[in-house]
């Protein structure tokens, strides 16, 4: 960290708090604190190094996708019978991660949960960037991505519509709706903060840039009234999306007749898994952020504790689904389902399966312990374990179900190639590039909501009138 930055930050010692906002904050102090990170802080070497690494991975993505588009999807390890492989695994994983952002920003807003305030802004950004990464995979997997618009219903020269009975078409609508609503919600929430940055900026260019994207926000009572209506409406639109988007994604599997896919438990199971991995990603981002930007006052122990609890709860739903899936395979008496389950547990991908069981079921049980939920580094480690587990879960669902279906003559194996790995790691580069730019140029915590929180917490403490 730069010396100037260091002086400013170490002047106050880190005091962990158990409130949603550390005591003693005023409207001015919260506004200063968040807007200064964008406007007055110098570029730190840690930030620059992180961005450089992310850009490096983004370059890897460009190379990988360039090769895939030039040669074709054959450069990946996919073939018949395993036609889906890494691309769809990554798609489901990224989309799932996005769900926590929507849950925090929309669902918790409607539930009037105060602890969403300091984490919703960057969680929403995480959603948008995750959906952007997710969207790349079906496009690349098409093989001829320049014809992607064939998935859209438009007045084409062929006189045909997309196949509306196909869940792949539902995906197009679900994901594009999700991206649009998330983007609108995020941007609407940003408007008052962008105006704050415009008013506090010193340089004329900075004032103009934030001024243009603040869309003329003046903070009049009329503006605020419209803002509140608008964000409530958008929250109402987003909340069903928390459930519907991953339900539609799960239909990609359940509509097929493949043993291991064709199951009615998938929609709730996928939604729980999405929120599980999403909260893990929020923790992965929040814990380093609060450390390096000294945000312990805003992202407090209470936040970490709550997020740990949400992970524990959704993790238990996921665990229940795994157990039910295995139970139904035996209870149904269907030999193909039984074989699929035995093959998962003891077949060539058994190691992957048991790693996934450890990562998603066994490991996170330590979250029952309150001390662990309040230990940032422990929580950080668990969040990484859960994300690995959730990625492996999608891999196991896709690959072990496809690689041995009804006919032994069409059995096969899936081995990822270097291009598979490069595409996957490359999207991490895309995600973190966008995220590094976001924390540098946008207020990563909602300033106006923090002010509101200051008001509310003061009001609570004041004696009743």
């Amino acid at each position: 960290m730069d010396p100037a930055e260091n002086d400013k930050l170490t002047s106050t010692a880190v005091v962990e708090t158990d409130e949603v906002l550390a005591p003693g904050h005023t409207y001015r102090s919260v506004s200063d604190r968040v807007s200064d990170m964008v406007l007055t802080w110098p570029v730190g070497y840690r930030w620059a190094a992180g961005l450089a690494l992310a850009l490096g991975l983004l370059f890897v993505l460009n190379v990988a996708l360039g090769w895939v588009f030039t040669i074709g999807v054959g450069v990946w390890g996919i073939n018949i019978p395993v036609g889906w492989g890494f691309a769809i695994t990554n798609f489901v994983w990224w989309i799932g991660i996005g769900h926590a952002g929507t849950l925090i920003s929309a669902f918790l807003l409607l539930m009037r949960q105060k602890w969403r305030t300091s984490i919703n802004r960057f969680a929403e950004a995480m959603t948008i960037f995750a959906v952007a990464c997710a969207g790349l995979f079906p496009l690349a997997h098409m093989g001829r991505p320049w014809l992607f618009y064939w998935m859209l219903p438009y007045p084409d020269t062929m006189g045909v519509w997309p196949q509306f009975r196909s869940p792949l078409v539902w995906d197009v609508f679900a994901v594009s709706t999700y991206l649009t609503v998330s983007l609108l919600f995020w941007y609407t929430g940003l408007l008052p903060d962008l105006a704050t940055l415009r008013d506090r900026a010193k340089k004329r260019v900075t004032k103009m840039i934030y001024g243009i994207i603040a869309l003329g926000w003046r903070g009049s009572a009329e503006h605020w009234s419209r803002y509140e209506t608008c964000s409530l409406l958008l929250a109402g639109l987003s909340t069903p999306l928390v459930v519907s988007v991953h339900t539609v994604v799960s239909f990609d599997f359940t509509i097929a007749v493949i043993p291991g896919w064709h199951s009615t438990i998938f929609p709730p199971y996928f939604v729980a898994g999405a929120i599980y991995s999403g909260f893990a990603m929020v923790l992965t981002l929040a814990i380093p952020l609060r450390k390096y930007y000294h945000l312990e006052d805003f992202i407090t122990m209470k936040h970490l504790d709550f997020m740990g609890k949400v992970m524990l709860a959704t993790g238990l739903v996921v665990a229940y689904s795994y157990i039910m899936e295995a139970f139904m395979a035996f209870y149904s008496g269907n030999p193909y389902d039984r074989y699929m389950m035995m093959n998962r547990m003891t077949g060539p991908y058994a190691k992957v399966f048991w790693t996934l069981i450890f990562c998603n079921l066994i490991g996170p049980q330590v979250l029952w312990i309150s001390k662990i939920r309040r230990n940032p580094w422990f929580l950080f480690a668990i969040s990484l374990v859960v994300q690995t587990g959730m990625w492996l879960e999608r891999f196991v669902i896709i690959v072990t179900s496809l690689h041995r279906d009804f006919l032994p003559s069409s059995w096969g194996m899936f081995y990822p190639t270097r291009w598979d790995w490069m595409t996957f790691l490359g999207t991490l580069g895309l995600f973190f590039t966008l995220f590094y730019l976001f924390i540098r140029f946008m207020p990563m915590i909602a300033i106006h909501e923090l002010r509101d929180l200051v008001h509310k917490t003061e009001h609570e403490k004041a004696p009743a009138h």
């Binding site: 062929m158 006189g159 045909v160």
Partner: protein, 216 residues
């Protein structure tokens, strides 16, 4: 605190909101319009031919049947282009000194075929069979336009899949009695709706729109 922007920004921002919608809408309209224009579909264009052959003159004025030249239309997927010998059945006797017909005589003398510019061409991934269409009461002019009115041949229709599908879904609007199939000029009767339904039943016409009907 001084204003960041000049007052005119109010107008500019309002105009830009409408402007963006109009620009995006305009772009899609433009793309759609180009896609449906003769520039792109080549419909209604008259390509240059080695000999300015007139279907109007040969069919309506002279009364020659379509099948005199396009011999395989009733038995094959391809209607057939006449060899130079077919032209010469008449043109060895009439218009023998015509300058216009010089390429025909040259072709006959050398045995090298006339190289016509193709007017109606379907892509190779489409299976199309002339014989079944004429057998089921779809006339030449339904697809190729009123050839009896064409002094120079042009492509009447876009041949877009949308256009094929339209007839495959609603054959009753286009079907005609089998004996009228080869008329160079045909106007549907007033009772086409009634006649069409009757013929569809009589000829057992299927409304086949499955992909593999044409993309085999």
């Amino acid at each position: 605190m001084p204003q960041v922007f000049h007052r005119s920004m109010n107008t500019i921002s309002r105009v830009s909101i409408v402007g963006v919608v109009v620009l995006i809408g305009g772009f899609f309209y433009f793309a759609w319009a180009v896609n449906n224009s003769p520039y792109y579909t080549r419909a209604m264009l008259q390509p240059l031919q080695p000999v300015p052959f007139s279907h109007k003159h040969h069919t309506v004025d002279d009364g020659i049947d379509c099948r005199y030249c396009h011999t395989s239309v009733e038995t094959s997927s391809f209607a057939g282009l006449p060899p130079t010998e077919t032209c010469m059945t008449c043109h060895s006797q009439i218009w023998t000194n015509s300058v216009m017909l010089e390429p025909v005589r040259a072709s006959y003398a050398t045995g090298k075929s006339l190289e016509w510019t193709r007017v109606n061409a379907l892509p190779d991934f489409v299976y199309f069979n002339h014989s079944i269409h004429v057998k089921q009461g779809i006339g030449c002019t339904t697809c190729h336009g009123e050839l009896g009115d064409m002094p120079i041949t042009w492509k009447q229709n876009t041949l877009y899949m949308r256009w094929c599908i339209n007839c495959h879904k609603h054959p009753q609007d286009y079907v005609r009695p089998r004996e009228d199939v080869f008329l160079p000029v045909y106007h549907p009767p007033k009772n086409q709706a009634e006649l069409g339904r009757k013929l569809v039943a009589e000829y057992k016409i299927h409304t086949w729109t499955r992909c593999d009907t044409c993309h085999r």
